[in-house]
């Protein structure tokens, strides 16, 4: 059979693809809007690849100095790095360049938003339980890599904000006990602001190494999802051993493709109509120049918050620093958060569910009040520190003095999570007793009566 007469037969006779194709077309997707959050991340990644390819054709990763000339008078004739100069050209002279750059940047922000929302759905519904622990661990790794990839990406441009961000990254690398000094000078090809190899290294990490790893892990994540099939919320006819929903073909495929274009449309509209990271306004970076109100992209806000919140402790012996201060906010704090996320399936099994069984029916948050309480506490902890990261802008616009916010936040990071745990756990228990759905008015999800997983918590509550 020749390919143009019957392509399906052509491929099938050579690869035996019809069987898998038939299965794929019948693959069942459970229906709930929150299952689209992971796809949103996937499609943001698609947009990142498409726009990033365009940008890579124009960007020149070099720290060599050049005199820039172009249609922005305050920088016309300025001495800048080739990297920054090409970012200016991309933004100001390349046709469609600014649209692509802005869409790329918005897509990077949305990529991490989508992963975060997806993660929240997964943890609060217990979707990380057996048999999905590995799928979950790959997902957490993807979150970490997405944050790193975003940071490396906006650091490439060698504008004022990226340079200040790199200084902080460098200090955090330096703060690692024992190896910090060697590691920092190794990565930066010398002391900050780095040798001539540094920006090319960032570039190769940003356009090849990290995207390749991310793409591979996305593939692995999806393969693992398909192996176990999607988890599903409880509902009529839904059991642990089946999956109820829309088959891939035709309805789901069309809707999902529509979702891809919806994500792309929002990102392109933002890219064209809402300005992001106007590097010509920030100006070039020099180590002796700083600006007030410099901030990282949102997904690093929790780290700037931690760095600012930390009292000025440093471990020292015999007048020598052993553990520099950025280690606490820049390494220990994210270490705790990601450590907690990686350990969550084990923690959940040992402390909250006490079972080894497979779970394909999702919990509602109330089904495991103690798990939900602990998750809420962790969330409040991180979100609080995240918001403290913008305390300077809050001072500027709302006149709440920075120092007051500092002391308030230092107290709240201990009090608020404890309070969140107590309140959320009580709320879950109350909801279970009333069996009311907090979103029933807008979400017509049907749910069976509570199952018996959390009898322990209920007894403890009564005791």
């Amino acid at each position: 059979m020749s390919p143009h007469v019957d392509p399906v037969a052509f491929v099938d006779e050579r690869l035996g693809a019809a069987g898998p194709l038939r299965k794929a077309l019948r693959y069942v997707f459970p229906e709930h809007w929150s299952f689209l959050l992971g796809e949103m991340a996937l499609y943001a990644f698609v947009v990142l690849l498409a726009t990033g390819t365009f940008l890579a054709l124009f960007f020149e990763p070099s720290t060599a100095q050049t005199t820039w000339h172009g249609p922005y008078a305050p920088l016309d004739g300025a001495q800048v790095s080739v990297a920054y100069g090409s970012a200016l050209d991309l933004s100001l002279t390349v046709p469609g360049g600014l649209l692509m750059r802005q869409t790329h940047h918005w897509a990077a922000l949305l990529f991490v938003v989508a992963i975060t929302l997806h993660l929240l759905r997964v943890v609060f519904t217990g979707a990380f339980r057996k048999p999905r622990e590995l799928t979950y661990a790959v997902g957490v790794t993807l979150l970490m890599l997405a944050v790193l990839e975003g940071y490396v990406g906006y650091s490439l441009l060698d504008d004022l904000l990226s340079g200040m961000g790199l200084a902080i990254g460098y200090s955090t690398a330096l703060s690692l006990p024992g190896i910090g000094g060697a590691l920092g000078t190794l990565l930066w090809d010398g002391a900050f602001p780095g040798g001539p190899a540094f920006v090319p290294r960032l570039f190769i990490a940003h356009v090849f190494i990290l995207p390749a790893v991310i793409a591979t892990l996305i593939g692995l994540h999806l393969w693992m999802v398909v192996r176990t099939r999607h988890a599903q919320f409880p509902g009529p006819g839904r059991r642990e051993r089946n999956v109820v929903g829309s088959p891939m073909w035709p309805a789901y495929a069309l809707r999902s493709l529509g979702w891809l274009f919806a994500v792309a449309a929002v990102l392109v509209l933002l890219g064209g109509l809402v300005q992001i990271n106007p590097v010509w306004q920030w100006g070039p970076y020099e180590p002796w120049v700083g600006e007030n109100g410099a901030q990282p992209d949102w997904y690093l806000g929790w780290l700037i918050g931690a760095l600012r919140l930390m009292p000025n402790w440093e471990a020292a012996v015999f007048g020598r620093t052993i553990i520099p201060n950025p280690f606490f906010g820049g390494v220990v704090f994210p270490g705790i958060v990601f450590g907690f996320l990686y350990a969550l399936p084990a923690v959940d099994r040992v402390f909250f569910t006490h079972d080894q069984a497979e779970h394909h029916l999702l919990d509602r948050a109330r089904d495991n009040p103690r798990r939900s309480g602990v998750l809420a506490a962790m969330l409040v902890f991180v979100v609080l520190i995240f918001f403290f990261g913008s305390a300077d802008r809050v001072f500027l616009t709302l006149s709440i003095p920075y120092e007051l916010q500092l002391w308030l936040a230092r107290g709240l990071v201990f009090v608020a999570p404890a309070l969140a745990y107590v309140l959320v756990r009580r709320w879950c228990l109350a909801l279970r007793r009333a069996d009311a759905h907090p979103l029933r008015a807008v979400d017509a999800e049907l749910v069976p009566p509570p199952r018996t997983d959390d009898t322990l918590a209920t007894t403890a509550e009564r005791g």
Binding site: W33, A73, S91, Q275, W280, A294
Partner: protein
């Protein structure tokens, strides 16, 4: 419930970004000096309670005004920061100023003749400045407090105001005087051409940033960008997701 929450979030977002113009503190002493044009009379009416008789200052309350120069006097009066009802706060810029031009001239003339000295009111001509040099000087000497596009900043105790509405003259006076906690820069540190260049950068670029990429969302960088991606992009897409993800049948 969710709609109200979204509205509240949107309001918070707008406030944090500083989109609505910050409300001006209205001086409670608007009536002071109404109709008067004599320097000593104006001084006795609006200034003497803090700055003391003969402008010698009151220890711990307000500085002496003798020999401070016309630039400082004009800056505080013309930006509406003086006279001040509550001597403990740093007031924001407030327009129109309490005293009209004639009254300001009378006050300045009275105080400068008490004891000469200080900087005269500078002549600032931004059109003579060099935009590139102005940007570079602003980045080196001003952006640490006022932010690189002059949208304002803070240190742990005080706000460095946004320069969205300041005039070239106010810029020149502030550079020479160093009001409140601002450092001061004299002729030898920044000459007249430098001041012209900085004033040109502020009035031409920072006050009207060329937002080639669309809506400028405040020109302060990642915080409004984060709000837009969470609230606007996230909000729209969750609505779309709920349309796509709803139960198709049954």
């Amino acid at each position: 419930m969710t709609r109200r929450r979204a509205l509240a979030l949107a309001v918070c977002a707008a406030v944090v970004c500083g989109w609505p113009a910050p409300s001006r503190a209205q001086s409670p002493q608007r009536h002071v000096g109404a109709g008067r044009t004599s320097g000593p009379a104006l001084y006795d009416d609006g200034c003497v309670s803090c700055h003391g008789p003969d402008a010698r200052g009151v220890p711990g309350r307000a500085p002496s005004l003798r020999g401070v120069g016309a630039a400082a006097l004009d800056f505080y009066l013309a930006t509406g920061r003086m006279p001040l009802a509550d001597a403990t706060i740093e007031p924001p810029r407030s327009q129109p100023p309490v005293y009209g031009a004639a009254q300001r001239h009378a006050l300045i003339a009275y105080l400068t003749q008490l004891q000469p000295g200080g900087d005269p009111i500078p002549a600032v001509r931004p059109q003579l400045g060099d935009l590139a040099r102005g940007r570079r000087l602003f980045a080196d000497s001003c952006s640490g407090c006022h932010q690189i596009v002059a949208k304002g900043g803070v240190d742990p105790v005080i706000v460095a105001p946004a320069l969205d509405e300041v005039t070239p003259l106010e810029i020149g006076e502030a550079i020479r005087v160093g009001p409140y906690l601002m450092p001061r820069f004299d002729e030898r540190r920044l000459d007249a051409h430098d001041v012209d260049s900085i004033a040109r950068y502020i009035t031409e670029v920072a006050q009207h940033p060329p937002d080639r990429g669309g809506w400028g969302i405040g020109n302060v960088g990642p915080i409004p960008e984060g709000l837009v991606v969470w609230l606007l992009a996230g909000g729209v897409l969750i609505v779309v997701a709920r349309i796509i993800g709803r139960r198709a049948t049954g």
